[in-house]
Symmetry: C2
Subunit: 440 residues, 2 copies
């Protein structure tokens, strides 16, 4: 869709407008019911969903087959076809995910910080659902179940808008979700899938503050930028993952090599893969040849400042020198999501922090160090959603952080920051318990 | 300023544009310094500021006199002149406020929820400043010191844009703040006052996401709506305070009368004053005549549904009947900020919750009850920033809630909800402590 489409070409009288308005109203009504549902009821729905997924493997695969055939005919690229595919293994994984969510403690209604004030009133904060979230995502149909199950557990209603290429799979999955909700005594409208692939629907979904409290987009940067610009409600978003590893002096060089290798090469496509490596000048001669040899052997292109290139070229085997190229200013900003890494020598912790705060996307950055003061400064002063000492940036993930589930990663500072789990879909309201106190 | 001015009439080449850009950049640079400042340094600045305020009573009053003379000549109304006035008593109050902030624990850098994960990494969250906030406010010059001192304590930089009628007072106060910052070894640019009264400055301030992380407007509803609509960064805002007291059955009638009286009549202008009174039908005959007599005696107009009017007219003295009028649908939505209250009979807790969730502005609502289950349902199901049992809505306030200071009250669900203190000016980032762990 072209950028102006999203915002301007919205007719309030079209069929899609009426559809989205009805879905919004239904979600709003359902949200009040699911918000006050007991933990037992919500868990019952999650377990029912897990059961239904396993019992409906064949129909789910049949619906998915329709999407795959259409996509194949349309000439969709192989990696996208792969993402679209709903295998028994994927269905089992999301079913287990529902069971794990059911087993987690329920955070809705918890009251924190209750303290008596001088007036006699006691004041605390209660965790409550946000209300209604809208989720906009691409290809992978399993996101439908991940989003639906998080909505149920967190007591929110949601409106899901999946990719048009997965519409049949998503409809089949959403029908199971509504079946599970009804079986547990919850309103089916608590989880609704937008049934049309008309692009106008997105424009309406992000502009209904009367019904939708927050939008969570997952997809390409272009989509997320357009949605953020045009949305009339808050957006939980994550644009770039330009993550860094800084190898400090002093550090355990073997650990630094292991982490720098893992952070870059364990997978190239995730947002938490490292795109930049900073090295304290005083450990460069010892560290760089070791990591350079590994990167070269794995075919990773190293875009280096001159000092790094000098050290690497002097030590790395002749046949690997082709992997070493000089970086431009643009490289320090780049999220490659590919076997490429930028490498720069820095004088020490000050320059490392300065570089990261200037060039990183504020997603995840790590220091490898033995120096306690450097570690503390890095944690405090690096302005990123996740800051790490002696660990791979690849750990920036809801499951690895113990959130139990993840609906996305936020690089904003407002509300949710970093991996967003159930708490990110809640808000804290003040609760006051009195005994007839009045204000003088 | 006309609505379109704010958004469209912004020249990026004007003198004001250059000024605001320079202030933004300076704030951003200063924010990194103040974010890493120790608690001791920040408290030193706050205590220095308290001292400077007390030492400069005469010059402050002289600057304030210039504003008062200009405002008087311009024919400003008496209540506005009153707000503009900087008396020794007000200066002492804000000086004490600075000292109280200095005495509060420092929340910046605190780490919560640190837990070891199956991979071996330990994951927690660290409280850090948001960065730079922009504050836009009207008349009262004491807000300059309140905002500046909250910025210092919370480790944020701020750009303050006060009302044009208070410009000389604000300049004098801001000069003292910068003096105090410098004396403590902090950058003066951590707190900057926009030195021009040109209205274009506001348009730039709210549209610099590269420098300013959040905007906090305080003022009339029109101003806040325009800023929310045009801002390119998050806004911590509060539009309406349509607060309710619901008198449940069973309840302590004497307590209900005391609270309903206080919530409406202790002050008419604050946003936490009650504008609506809901009464369970079964206690109406006992409760309504008592509260009706008090409201009538205090000259409060009662806008009632028919059932309420019938009960009141049957019991209240003849001379007070003039205070009883029939409510229209609009009355249930109204924030009067005046000696007027809407009163409605409801069947019980269900109708009360439904009415409040439909008509209230989600600010503060209270139930007066002895029923434990009703109390719990009210707290959980009423979708407002502050929900209260057996206490006056007038308590919805940062100081009364023990936040130590308040920069505003948020009726949004995102990020800060309810009275916003220092924590509302911070964010939580994830911190990960490892021992060389990598992701498999």
């Amino acid at each position: 869709m072209n950028a102006p489409d999203l915002k301007n070409a919205l007719s309030q009288d079209s069929e899609v407008a009426h559809l989205m308005n009805a879905m919004g109203l239904q979600a709003k009504v359902a949200s009040a019911q699911v918000a006050r549902a007991s933990a037992a009821i919500k868990n019952k729905a999650l377990l029912a969903l897990a059961g239904l997924l396993r019992q409906n493997l064949a129909p789910l695969e049949a619906s998915n087959q329709l999407d795959l055939e259409r996509a194949t005919a349309a000439g969709l690229a192989a990696p996208l076809l792969d993402r679209l595919k709903l295998t028994p293994k994927i269905i089992e994984t999301v079913a287990i995910g529902c069971e794990q969510l059911a087993a987690m403690p329920d955070v809705i209604g918890e009251i924190i910080g209750m303290k008596e004030q001088p007036s006699g009133i006691r004041v605390g904060q209660m965790r409550v659902p946000i209300g209604v979230f809208g989720m906009i995502y691409e290809s992978r149909p399993n996101v439908t179940i991940e989003a639906a199950s998080l909505a149920i557990k967190s007591g929110n209603a949601c409106i899901l808008r999946g990719g048009s290429e997965a519409i049949e799979s998503n409809k089949a999955l959403a029908a199971l979700v509504q079946h599970a909700l009804t079986a547990a005594g919850l309103p089916a409208d608590a989880v609704q899938l937008v049934p049309t692939t008309d692009r106008e629907a997105v424009g309406h979904l992000i502009a209904m503050p009367q019904y939708v409290d927050v939008i969570i987009p997952r997809g390409g940067k272009g989509l997320i930028e357009r949605i953020s610009r045009d949305a009339k409600v808050p957006v939980i978003k994550h644009l770039d993952g330009n993550c860094h590893v800084y190898v400090d002096d002093p550090c355990d060089i073997a650990m630094a090599v292991k982490v720098a290798d893992n952070a870059k090469t364990s997978k190239y496509s995730p947002c938490n893969a490292s795109e930049g490596l900073l090295v304290a000048r005083s450990v460069a001669a010892e560290f760089l040849p070791k990591i350079g040899a590994i990167y070269a052997a794995k075919g990773v292109e190293m875009r280096c400042d001159e000092a790094t290139a000098r050290v690497l070229r002097a030590h790395v085997a002749i046949e690997s020198v082709a992997n070493i190229v000089l970086a431009t200013e643009d490289d320090w900003y780049e999220e490659y999501l590919a076997p490429i890494i930028s490498i720069k020598l820095v004088e020490g912790i000050d320059e490392a922090i300065e570089h990261i705060n200037k060039y990183s996307s504020h997603h995840t950055d790590a220091i490898i160090t033995r120096d306690h003061i450097h570690a503390q400064r890095f944690l405090r002063e690096v302005d990123s959603a996740s800051v790490m000492v002696n660990a791979s940036t690849r750990f920036a993930d809801g499951f690895e952080f113990g959130l139990g589930a993840e609906i996305g990663i936020s690089t904003d500072k407002f509300h949710a920051r970093g991996p967003v789990g159930i708490e990110g879909l809640t808000s804290l309201k003040y609760v006051v318990l009195g005994n007839g106190e009045v204000r003088l």
